[in-house]
Amino acid sequence: MVKRTEQRIKVLVTKVGLDGHDRGIKVVASMLKEAGMEVLYLGMYQTPESIVRAAIDEDVDVIGLSYLSGEHLIFTPKIVEEMKKNGLEDILLIAGGTFPAEDIPTMEKMGIDKVFRAGTLTDEFVQYIVGNLKR
């Protein structure tokens, strides 16, 4: 196990599928960088497979998913499954975007560690990441 406390936290943030709303994810990427983390933004049109491949290649501590087109319940189980298949249980998995409050427990049950909605302030998600790394 790599001891991460002395290194920079490495975060992969990404879109999944065809959802093109990328204002939020780019802002999150910038804010995480300003908080001293190493951030990799994969861009749009990613698949569960391409996300997990990049997470392995880049040896990241955190994966951040951005959902704004109602696709969160479709892609989350596929990404979690792909992560499990590749033994990535020690990566912190977070998601942000627009979805109904009702779906947050469902997403957490599916395997997302923490869900942030639109209107979250930077401090909240930065503190969460710093305090909840799994490796």
């Binding site: 599928g17 204002r23 910038s30 804010m31 049109y45 109602g70 639109a118």
Partner: protein, 564 residues
């Protein structure tokens, strides 16, 4: 029980009321407009030159139309209450249109989903997961028939929201259905968004290469000029640009710069400015700063009039009239304390109406959570109706005209917007600003600025950085889900259509489309014929894409089935 009560009482005495007392002395923390312009304590006659009334302001209905494009504004006709609809299958979307019509909606307005905007058929491997999630997918003429079923196309006014290069296909599909239904094209009223250039900033870059955006966008405009004289064939989308986080002046400036790309191309094709400018429309955002939004709209009207007259030499006053629809700012709404969004939308809609809007979509309160439920959709429509029938804001044209503050802010936004347009010109024009990703950088840095304003408390949003005590676990009027069955059925129907259609007829139509595209002709007539031969969205667009040297499939997953 009694113990708890006692404890509570005691705590109250210790200071629960302090907040109340402190709140009594509250005052605003910032004296800036939403766009960051310093605002004075009071505005007086010194802040604007009244003697320039005729030149800069003038009565509604007269050049430069600062106060409105009609002399009597809403007395002549109310704005069109046009709620955006797009959910699941064409039949599901049709049902919601009918529901809104039954409750007083006055304009049809349907929006494409992500798959359709990307130019993908419902059975495309990237589409099958997402059909109908954010709008409606029209793959074949059958889908357009289902969407328009029983609707008298010669009597209604329909706004088709397809913005990407797929707008060319939407136009062809609508025309094909209208012709098959025996309608005279010259009588059709409505609009198509058809602004592919802006749509590369909304996640559709693979479907919107710049040259193809200008080519197909202009093909739609040119075709409609000749065939659908009552149709508004582009709605330059300033709203989507604003949603990226930019300010009011940037919204106008970038929107106008994009509009000029199309204007220049149409003029290059030999059209006269007065042939097409009267059919240009705009999609404007109304954000939460009421006075600034009204000022922005007034500035945009004046700037458009002058641009079209002075730069392009228009003579017809209709060319100089800035016609616009408003979409209340989706990005101003938040999922925390969701019912408050109803109030935000009402203020934004008020700004739109005070600004003299032609057509209005009010966001439903559940916008930052899901597609609108029927109840939320109806509530948004009711917001418009309260505004139209109860508040009296429809009585007078440009009621804020002559306000020292609003006139000053109008001048300010005009000045700032013109400065930005000048900057774009110096960069080599909008196409160059897009190619060099200058525009991307503007969006990104402004969006970060907006987040920092919230983090620092420079901008306050109730439920985000002030008064944020509640944590709702449910959505008040329920959640809209998209029917998985509908999406599956649509995918199956498309597969069946592709199996059963007359392949020779289709082959001939595709060949003509390919030839027309290759010869630089306007491709819309061939697209109409190919649609009638059951050619699909992906097939029409893919065929044209290949001619222009792009992959048949924007997602580069499937090959053209027509490689003979």
């Amino acid at each position: 029980m009694s113990q708890t009560n006692e404890a509570k009482t005691e705590k109250t005495h210790e200071g629960d009321w302090d907040a109340y007392i402190k709140a009594y002395y509250e005052k605003p923390v910032s004296f800036k407009s939403w766009s960051g312009y310093d605002v004075k304590e009071i505005y007086t006659p010194d802040d604007r030159s009244v003697e320039d009334y005729g030149k800069n302001i003038s009565d509604a209905g007269t050049y430069p139309f600062t106060r409105g494009i009609h002399a009597n504004m809403f007395r002549g006709r109310l704005w069109t209450k046009r709620e955006v609809v797009g959910i699941g299958s064409p039949a599901d979307t049709h049902a919601r249109l009918k529901y809104l019509a039954e409750h007083g909606g006055s304009g049809l307005n349907t929006i494409a989903d992500v798959t359709y905007e990307m130019g993908l058929d419902a059975d495309h491997p990237w589409a099958v997961n997402e059909v109908g999630l954010t709008g409606v997918n029209i793959t074949s003429i059958r889908d357009m028939e289902a969407l328009t079923k029983d609707i008298p196309l010669d009597k209604v006014s329909w706004s088709l929201i397809t913005a990407s290069t797929a707008a060319s296909v939407t136009m062809a599909q609508y025309v094909a259905v209208a012709e098959s239904g025996g309608y005279n094209l010259a009588g059709l009223r409505g609009s198509i968004q058809n602004d592919p250039i802006h749509f590369r900033y909304c996640g559709f870059r693979p479907a919107c290469p710049l040259d193809l955006s200008i080519k197909l966008g202009s093909d739609v405009m040119e075709y409609c000029t000749k065939r659908l004289p009552k149709w508004y064939y582009t709605t330059v989308n300033m709203y989507d640009l604003r949603e990226q986080g930019i300010n009011a002046s940037q919204e106008v400036a970038f929107g106008f710069c994009i509009a000029m790309c199309y204007i220049d191309e149409l003029i290059r094709r030999g059209l006269d400015i007065d042939e097409f400018a009267p059919r240009f429309t705009f999609y404007v955002s109304c954000h939460i700063d009421i006075f600034e939004e009204v000022a922005k709209i007034r500035a945009a009207r004046r700037m458009w009039a002058r641009l079209v007259k002075e730069k392009y030499g228009a003579k017809d006053p209709k060319s100089m009239q800035f016609r616009f629809a408003v979409h209340t700012a989706g990005c101003s709404l938040i999922p925390q304390q969701p019912l408050n969004n109803i109030v935000r939308v009402a203020y934004e809609a008020l700004a739109a109406v005070l600004g003299g809007v032609q057509s209005l979509h009010c966001c439903s309160y559940d916008e930052p959570m899901c597609l609108p439920t029927e109840k939320a959709h109806l509530q948004a429509l009711r917001t418009q109706q309260i505004l139209a029938y109860e508040t009296g804001v429809t009585n007078v044209a440009d009621p804020l005209g002559g306000s020292y503050y609003v006139e000053n802010l109008t001048d300010r936004i005009e000045d700032e917007s013109l400065k930005i347009m000048k900057q774009v010109e110096e960069l080599g024009g909008m196409e160059e600003a897009i190619r060099t990703e200058w525009l991307d950088r503007q969006f990104e840095s402004e969006a970060v600025k907006r987040q920092k304003e919230l983090d620092n408390g420079d901008k306050l949003v109730v439920g985000v950085n002030i008064f944020n005590t509640e944590q709702e676990k449910t959505t008040p009027l329920g959640v809209q889900r998209v029917s998985e069955q509908s999406a599956k059925k649509q995918v199956e129907d498309v597969k069946e259509l592709k199996r059963s259609r007359d392949k020779d007829k289709l082959k001939d139509a595709i060949k003509r489309l390919r030839d027309d595209a290759g010869e630089g002709k306007n491709v819309i007539p061939a697209m109409v014929d190919t649609t009638k031969a059951f050619g699909t969205t992906g097939e029409l667009l893919g065929t044209v894409r290949e001619v222009f040297g792009y992959s048949y499939d924007p997602m580069e997953t499937i090959e053209s089935p027509f490689n003979w």
